[in-house]
């Protein structure tokens, strides 16, 4: 799942080398936290959140088979 998120995001940004995904897990859900270069945050989110919405839809479809809920977050930095 982590690899899927990275593949999608790296293809969209200007600084693919600064894309990283970390995950944390509790009983019900797995949260993937996505961090990108500051200038790329807008690209990943998109106009009215369209891009991040599309990323989430694709990731949720891929995660449909597993029992835990999957959450994708964009980390803000500096």
């Amino acid at each position: 799942m982590k690899q899927l998120i990275e593949t999608i995001v790296q293809a969209l940004v200007d600084h693919p080398e600064e894309v990283s995904v970390t995950n944390s897990e509790d009983e019900q859900s797995i949260t993937y936290e996505l961090s990108v270069h500051k200038e790329d945050i807008g690209k990943v989110i998109g106009k009215q959140g369209r891009t991040i919405h599309a990323i989430r839809t694709v990731v949720y479809a891929a995660a449909a088979k597993q029992p835990k809920r999957v959450i994708v977050r964009v980390k803000e930095k500096g």
Binding site: Q3, T7, I8, A54, I55, T57, A61, A62, A64
Partner: protein
């Protein structure tokens, strides 16, 4: 990114040689002249060769296809094949295989998301805007037929009851299919209400 640097007697020759090495035509590369060279006196003294660098530009459609393939595979859908069709500026990727239902999703949501992302990737490398359609097992054509049927049914209902009929929210291109299906219908008018992504169609009996 693929690139070659070529040294030859003149800039033209260097460019030709670079294109040959990359095996592409001139519009696929970006040429950077590093040194124009000098002919020198009598072609002997002070002679300096020309040096150019040719950088292979990425093909937007190829990049889009690679991206789509990789994403589908990592979504856990194997054995899917992608067929490509190009009509002018519009490229359609048709996905066929088992498990493509997963790629379509509810109301084609996943398919639309894949389309949006693939379109973004393609246009990162495109000089002119390219329009990408991602389809799976002819979903879009089937959906269009369903929507046209639905439109006819709802128009009948509106005429029979004399009341407005509201549809569930639909994406813009699906609303367009319904609008145009009923555009020439004499007894009803259609319009959309609400704000995206909850914008929906109302079929209303036309006032006579």
């Amino acid at each position: 990114m693929k690139e070659v640097t070529v040294t030859a007697a003149t800039v033209d020759e260097a460019v030709q040689s670079a294109l040959q090495q990359l095996g592409v035509s001139k519009n696929r590369v970006e040429i950077v002249v590093l040194d124009e060279g000098k002919k020198g006196l009598f072609g002997i003294f002070g002679h300096k060769p020309a040096v150019v660098k040719a950088i292979l530009k990425k093909d937007p459609i190829e990049e889009a296809e690679l991206f789509l393939k990789e994403v589908i595979q990592q979504m856990g859908v194997n054995a899917a094949t992608i067929e490509k069709q190009q009509h002018g500026k519009q490229v359609t990727f048709m996905i066929t295989g088992e498990q493509v239902g997963l790629l379509i999703g509810k109301h084609g949501q996943t398919l639309s998301s894949l389309q949006l992302l693939t379109q973004l990737v393609a246009n990162r490398y495109a000089e002119e805007y390219v329009s990408i359609v991602v389809d799976a097992e002819n979903y879009r054509e089937r959906r269009e037929k369903t929507l046209i049927q639905l439109a006819q049914k709802l128009a009948e209902k509106a005429v029979k009851t004399g009341k407005e009929v509201k549809l569930e929210p639909l994406p813009a291109h699906e609303r367009k299919i319904i609008h145009s299906a009923l555009a020439n219908h004499k007894k009803v008018v259609t319009y959309s209400v609400g704000v995206e992504p909850h914008r929906y169609i109302v079929v209303s009996p036309s006032a006579q």
